[in-house]
Amino acid sequence: MFEEDQETLAAEYVLGTLSAEEREHAEALRSFDPEFDAAVKQWERRLGELNVMVEAVEPPAEVWDKIKGEISAEMPAEAEAAAETESVPDLESPATVDATDFLFAETATTQPDENAGEAAATPANDAAAPPPLAAKRAAGVERGADVVRLRKRVGRWRGFTVAFAAIAALLAAYIAVSKVAPDLLPPQLRAVGANLMARTEPQERGPSDRLVAVLQQTPIAPAFLLTVDTQQRTVVVRRIAAGQENGRSYELWLITGRSAPPKSLGVVGSDEFTQRSLPANVDLETLRSATYAVSLEPAGGSPTGAPTGPVLFTGKAVDSLPSSPTPKT
């Protein structure tokens, strides 16, 4: 069962059907569970061939200019040399160049051949039907009426949707401004948006020096609650609904990125609360952005210093209290 859960998680991660939280969980797993990472890569290969059926679309020329610009900024000498010898690769039309794209040269006009009725071609044919039509067909006549009503409602709601999108854009802009230049915002707005950023500088800390993280396997079943005290540099783990270890030990890990190895924060004790010290060389910003995880290890903890057992729970930390507005004087 556990193996199947991991397998479907990897498959759904590649397919793209996971929620944002589930994706974070999967990404944390990838970073230090080689078996899970291998499962993801296998699914990328299994499902990846579907890209063959996607129509090629020529991107605007500026896209390449920007990519080239960023790469030249990284390695000026070689990029300049390259710029002299070759310009934009427009002489190579993608329809004639790409090994896989050659399939598309005539896609638009090609009909499936007489073998299309075979099992192999069926999914593609089925897929060609747009969802509303297909949904009607599948759901039968009765539910077909629901679909129609739904579509009408969609039409009426569209005005609201656009308004929501505008609000979302405004919010995004606001968050961007508050992160980059909090001083541009009025003080009463600055407080909320600046929450994360402002408090990364010690002198601007608010009343809360605590970060909390809920570690869970699925979004509805929190297993551990973590409280990170950034002043005392301790972490308190509270067991909420974690299962029994059965002779093994839960071990807590701090994951700071795909490339850095996970740092052990110690074994979780059998009492409701366990307190552990934070490693000295981890700064506040890292504690805020890190992923916290619990793996199941041999009794007493991992013998190697790296997670060896399955990673069962992961989570991110958030501030436990809003910081008070602290306008600069």
Binding site: L18, R23, V54, V57, D98, A99, A119, A124, F164
Partner: protein, 181 residues
């Protein structure tokens, strides 16, 4: 025309920091990746952004490409889709997909190809997909091409979210069983 072997070679040169090879790789793959991204993101300005991120990542991590476990194009498409889906999930659903112009792009899966246009691997995958119920096939394909979450699939197809979850799980395990490792 570049073959898969030629793309593998290009990636190996890119891994050594050859920017000329990178430019040829871009020329050979850009339209495919852009097509994939447009379907998921709907909006060209977002697709442009993810194109840049994707190719920068390809530039930086070409050395980690392993021709034994992936083809160049599926590897690059995976990087692009991954990033696109991250963005769609994090922005929330309403801000992107419900805009009229986005709907027209992402609303359906691509037209079928004639059998002779398919790669061997694609034929195998489609044969396995073909063993699923038509409704489950559609869900898998819609998820792949449009980047929809379970919730979006449930809403758009008017099927309970739990049913979608069960179907996806079962379908994916069946596909794995059918295709072997």
């Amino acid at each position: 025309m570049l073959t898969q072997a030629e793309l593998v070679e290009l990636l190996a040169e890119v891994a050594k920091g050859d920017s000329g090879a990178f430019e040829r790789l871009y020329g050979a793959t850009r339209a495919k990746l852009y097509g994939v991204l447009l379907r998921i993101l709907g909006r060209p300005e977002l697709a442009d952004e993810v194109m840049q991120e994707t190719y920068l990542k390809v530039w930086k991590s070409a050395a980690s490409f392993d021709p034994a476990i992936a083809s160049p194009i599926t590897w690059m498409v995976a990087i692009a889709r991954n990033r696109a889906i991250d963005i769609v999930r994090k922005r929330g659903e309403a801000s992107i997909e419900d805009e009229p112009e986005a709907l027209s792009v992402a609303a359906d899966t691509p037209p079928p190809l004639a059998r002779r246009e398919m790669t061997e691997e694609l034929r195998r995958l489609l044969a396995c997909l073909g063993k699923l119920d038509p409704e489950k096939q559609r869900i898998v394909l819609l998820a792949y091409y449009s980047g929809w979450s379970r919730e979006q699939l449930a809403r758009k197809l008017d099927i309970p979210a739990n049913t979608i979850k069960t179907w996806l799980r079962r379908s994916l395990l069946e596909i794995r069983g059918c295709m072997g490792s």
